[in-house]
Symmetry: C2
Subunit: 355 residues, 2 copies
Amino acid sequence: MTTIMEVARAAGVSKSTVSRVLNGVPVSEEARRRVEAAIAALNFKPNAQARGLSLRRSHLIGVVVPEIARIFYGEVLEGIESALAETGFEMIVCSTRNRQGREWGLTKLLWSKRVDGLILVTPREFSPQALKSLKGEFPVVLVDGTSDSFSSISVDNFAGGFMATEHLLRLGHRRIGLILGPDTRESDQRLRGYKKALADYDCRFVPELIRSGDYLFDSGFTAMEELLALPERPTAVFAASDLMAIGALKAAEAHGIKVPEDLALVGFDDIEAARWTSPALTTIRQPLRQLGEIGGRTIVKAITKKNDPTKITLGCTLVVRESCGAFRRRMEGSRSGRSPDGNVEEGGGTGDIMM
Amino acid sequence: MTTIMEVARAAGVSKSTVSRVLNGVPVSEEARRRVEAAIAALNFKPNAQARGLSLRRSHLIGVVVPEIARIFYGEVLEGIESALAETGFEMIVCSTRNRQGREWGLTKLLWSKRVDGLILVTPREFSPQALKSLKGEFPVVLVDGTSDSFSSISVDNFAGGFMATEHLLRLGHRRIGLILGPDTRESDQRLRGYKKALADYDCRFVPELIRSGDYLFDSGFTAMEELLALPERPTAVFAASDLMAIGALKAAEAHGIKVPEDLALVGFDDIEAARWTSPALTTIRQPLRQLGEIGGRTIVKAITKKNDPTKITLGCTLVVRESCGAFRRRMEGSRSGRSPDGNVEEGGGTGDIMM
DNA sequence: ATACTTTTTGGAACCGTTCCCAAAATATCG
DNA sequence: CGATATTTTGGGAACGGTTCCAAAAAGTAT
């Protein structure tokens, strides 16, 4: 592993000069040529650790997620990675593997590793005391979460909840089940959107139609079974994740209930698998990748420019596919426009009806 | 950010003594107490960069994947992360975002970041010259790939191809389509397994039944359409990824062909979504998480013990669900044992028939 | 040619650790 | 109790860069 000193010797200059060449500081033409030749000849790569020690900057961003092997977080991570790749920062990924409280330990760990900043992709709230000890120490960005002390990028969950519910109301449904996620601010906002839509359409709020799960398949299945077991079952269900919606779909199928004929279904997230089901899922698209990209860009900005915390909220989109029956109505008498995944093709676009 | 010197001052000892306490080197009882108290009081965390500079060890492992937002790689990454978490190493994740050739640039980048080792989760082969320049420089482990120069962890693709095909042959199919992945050694081995099974069952190999895709949904859809357009269409199809199998399922559905009644289907990987389809996918399970875990453990061993490259091959398992009809035969007359995802429950196990 | 300004360069201190080595403190033994 | 063996400690040189500062070199004006 060659060092800057060896390059200096080979080029017949001092290491200061090599350093200058490396950092684009003006140097005589002659020296520059010789140094560059030596760098190439020796295949020299500056030692990022030594550099970081001197500059007190590691160019490393810590990223904490609850789980890597979940497509939701995978999309966000991909977004972060692609934003960082252009800036010379790298990301250290840590997963809490859904273990309660581990985010705090990981945060401290990454902190001691001298990451330049931290992206927390975690819906769970940090304890106030934890937050306080972080505050001011180094930049933190919350992705898919909100906080008063740090920058955060989140999605307009209220609007999402509203849109999904309104879509079902417009289709004439009055008894709409809701399968929420864990008890977080996010869920609360979606619930508020749901209630607002009901109110707007003069539809009564029925508490027994509300269930909650953990965003995963099995909990959607279970919740749907409970809803179907009600004396008067819902004619439509809005699930707060596509995974739960797919579970719900499976449950309906297991009980011989046809979607969308007997039951309309809306999901949330618009993961890829939403196109794969039969019927394909109508859902609320969250811009997951964008969430990550903006998160990445925000943390870099916070590190290099030290600007104040910002709060960004992204909109979401209703993607109409087959699981509500709305699709069929539109397409009546014409099947020619169907794409492989059962979406409606409109003018060669993405193949989804967006609202 | 407190340093070791400040701790030393606060404890009234030299920085050498603090360093000794930090590294578990024997020190007088009195000194240890004082140092520990000072560390706690000042909330001191050793600077990993300075430490790495001195030790020539970063405790960072570079991981290169083609894509993070694909559940296949997500599982592998989760496995790597969990193996590393126990060892004090952290992983820097880089994605080539499927761009040809980018793995080499990333490798060099990570190398210059002084990662202690590299895990390459990439099916594509590196150029021999690239490999040579890496060889001996620092430890590299290939996950889901093989190489003569480096340690590698892979799956027995030949056996996987064989098992999938044999399963279909046993069910009486003689005209079995094959949807392969991209042209890699992996695909070649699965093809060999397929051919071997055909030969074992005295079944003729028909080249026109072989298609290939990119492991993703759309390519499975397309390939299946081609197979269905054949003058004499296959009665069964083996797709080399679950994503392609799901695409194939959708294509069959679009053409009014019922699975498994009119067509049997086997996938590969056993991603979670394989349980979600209707019918649930019979598939070959790859131990993805284990692949990552062993990869992580192997690289750490290579770094700390400097032992010779090892080559590990993991077995895969046939998971029988609904898409081949084998399930129904077994379960005739009893639906009580069904789990939410349509697997067969046998003695409270994972809910799959494994072979 | 001389004095002065500007550019280019090398030397040395520093970033925060580890670790070797010699000095200091303590323990062991005759 | 002094001499020696052993343990514990502190000083200082790395590790490989960056950057300040002053010296050297080059350029400009008189």
